[in-house]
């Protein structure tokens, strides 16, 4: 088939206006498809996190602003079987509701951050962070979105932080958070939260049964000053994002609709191209081109248009996702929209599949057309 490449390329170029418009339409459809896919991937990453981490939250509370657990619960939880580490965390967010620009502060004992997270500082230093109470380390996505640089002082509500470091993480949703000293966040003016935290993060031994430990924790504090509700981190995050999950599930259909639209668009263009060239295809068949070669030529045109749109749309989506640091969050849990090799491959393979699906009918029509009738066309 490669021998026919000049013919294929020149044929597409002959109607370049139509070709470009179709490629652009396909690119837009693939761009939206990849964006929807990125949101879904982000949600999947959050909700499928392994069971080796538990989140202890105040029972019957949903927003971090209303969950207040005694900080010293960590001492009791630490002694339970199967528990490796307990980290008290104060959470502060500028918006508990679903929003595209959520800034979430995690107040954590400074010396424990490196123990519980795999952060790598791309700017700043750990010592600077540990030695300054009002400093924070900022995820790359937040830094990009809010244009934060090393040494920048910024404030959200009453929380005023100096950037001591910018980090990246293998868990991309972490890059939407700002980590500060626990006592600093507890002492934020107007909050008076000393002695209480929003939640405890419990890291379990590899052999521990997460459900059993969660039950033990909740049983322990059922009769205590504040009742707890303990779940694995994945379940906790899925529950926090419950409202968004429904929207994201719905957006799936938007992605599929885009793919359907793209199929129709390319199929229409290919059909038009075939109808324009009924005589040309008959001439080719007179010269000895078989029906299967004509079929393959038409299918190849459809695939070239589709994959062209796929490359442009997927590439644009990946660049936008990588450069924008976009995320959506609710109740201090954020879903990072980030590019991935899997998503890019899905986009490209999807565009190839669309090209084939869109081209089959026009290709069959071209291959089966009667030669004599075709030659009679004006």
């Amino acid at each position: 088939m490669y021998k026919f490449t000049p013919y294929l390329v020149k044929t597409l170029w002959r109607h370049r206006g139509r070709t470009m418009l179709t490629v652009s339409g396909s690119a837009v459809a693939l761009f939206v498809f990849c964006f929807v896919g990125a949101v879904q991937e982000g949600l999947d990453r959050l909700t499928s996190q392994n069971d080796s981490t538990l989140i202890v939250f105040q029972a019957n509370k949903f927003c971090p602003a209303t969950s207040h657990l005694p900080q010293d619960y960590d001492q009791i939880i630490r002694k339970m079987p199967g528990v490796r580490e307990v980290v008290p965390i104060q959470v502060f967010t500028n918006n508990c509701r679903a929003s595209l620009d959520v800034v979430v502060f995690y107040g954590v004992p400074a010396k424990k951050v490196q123990k519980i997270r795999d952060f790598e500082l791309v700017a700043g230093s750990w010592s600077e962070f540990k030695s300054n109470q009002d400093s924070g380390i900022v995820g790359e996505s937040v830094a990009r979105r809010r244009n934060l640089k090393l040494g920048t002082k910024f404030s959200v509500g009453e929380v005023k932080v100096t950037v001591a470091g910018i980090f990246n993480s293998t868990d991309q949703s972490e890059e939407d958070y700002v980590y500060t000293h626990l006592d600093f966040l507890q002492r934020t003016p107007g909050m008076n939260l000393v002695g209480t935290v929003t939640q405890h993060e419990v890291l379990l031994e590899d052999s521990a049964d997460a459900v059993r430990v969660a039950g033990l924790i909740d049983d322990e504090f059922r009769a205590g000053p504040v009742e707890t509700d303990t779940r694995t981190k994945g379940v906790f995050q899925a529950s926090s994002l419950a409202d968004l999950v429904e929207l994201i599930e719905l957006s799936h259909y938007l992605g599929y609709a885009c793919v359907g639209l793209m199929t129709m668009l390319i199929s229409t263009t290919t059909f038009m191209a075939v109808q324009d060239r009924i005589k040309e295809h008959s001439v080719l068949q007179t010269l000895g081109f078989s029906g299967s070669i004509v079929f393959a030529l038409v299918l190849a045109e459809s695939i070239l248009i589709s994959v062209g749109g796929g490359v442009v749309g997927t590439g644009a989506a990946m660049l936008t996702l990588a450069g924008s640091g976009l995320s959506v969050g609710a109740e201090a849990v954020t879903i990072a929209f980030s590019p991935s090799v899997g998503l890019a491959l899905t986009g490209l393979v999807g565009s190839l599949a669309v090209g084939i699906a869109a081209g089959v009918l026009p290709a069959v029509a071209a291959a089966r057309a009667d030669i004599i009738n075709g030659l009679r066309q004006a």
Binding site: R14, E280, V283, T286, L287, G288, F289, G291, I372
Partner: protein, 240 residues
Amino acid sequence: MLIEIRNLTKSFQKGDETITPLRDVSLDIDAGEFVSLMGPSGTGKSTLLNQIAGIDKPNFGTITVNGTEITTISRSRLAKWRAANVGYIFQTHNLIPVLTAYENVELPLLLLPFNRAERRRRVQIALEAVELVDRASHYPRQLSGGQEQRVGIARAIVTDPKVVVADEPTGDLDSATSAHILDLLQRLNSDLGTTLLMVTHDAEAAAIAGRQLRLDDGRLIDDTQQKQSLITTAEGTANV
């Protein structure tokens, strides 16, 4: 015998009417012959040409070209057979507009097992035969009608086919250009030994062929033999 046609009948439906342009036609054509086929419009000249070229199938009868009975083979095998054995010259040239003259001539060779160098050599020879080497990189829109037809002829002979069929090759051309094209066809036949079957309306064009056939009411009449027998009869009368 290169082409053997036996009892060929072709009919088709046009509304309620059944049209039979070819009725029990039989014909033999030797290798290297130049045959012209004349007749009024709608008498089935092009239909017969298309049967021989393997792009249309008869209702009855057989066509054997170089030992292959083409009326019974499948559509895909027929396409392969056409690529190797038939050159087709169209009335309206039918060049592919997005391809250069060189690429148009090369097109049938892409279907045959030739490497790039061999393709280049054959295209060069074909373009030299029609005296268009200097127009190889031109697109059809940059060529005159006569030049386009010469490219069409080069495309038809480039695979060195067993038979070249030409459907009104001068029908779209002015008289001067027509004469040039007819001269070219005659040279292809005499110099290269190409077997040619040409459909034409034009009696002068038909006259350049070594053998002239006429289709009348679906039946084939060999004018050359009639002329021959008239001459023989006249000579016999004179001798008496």
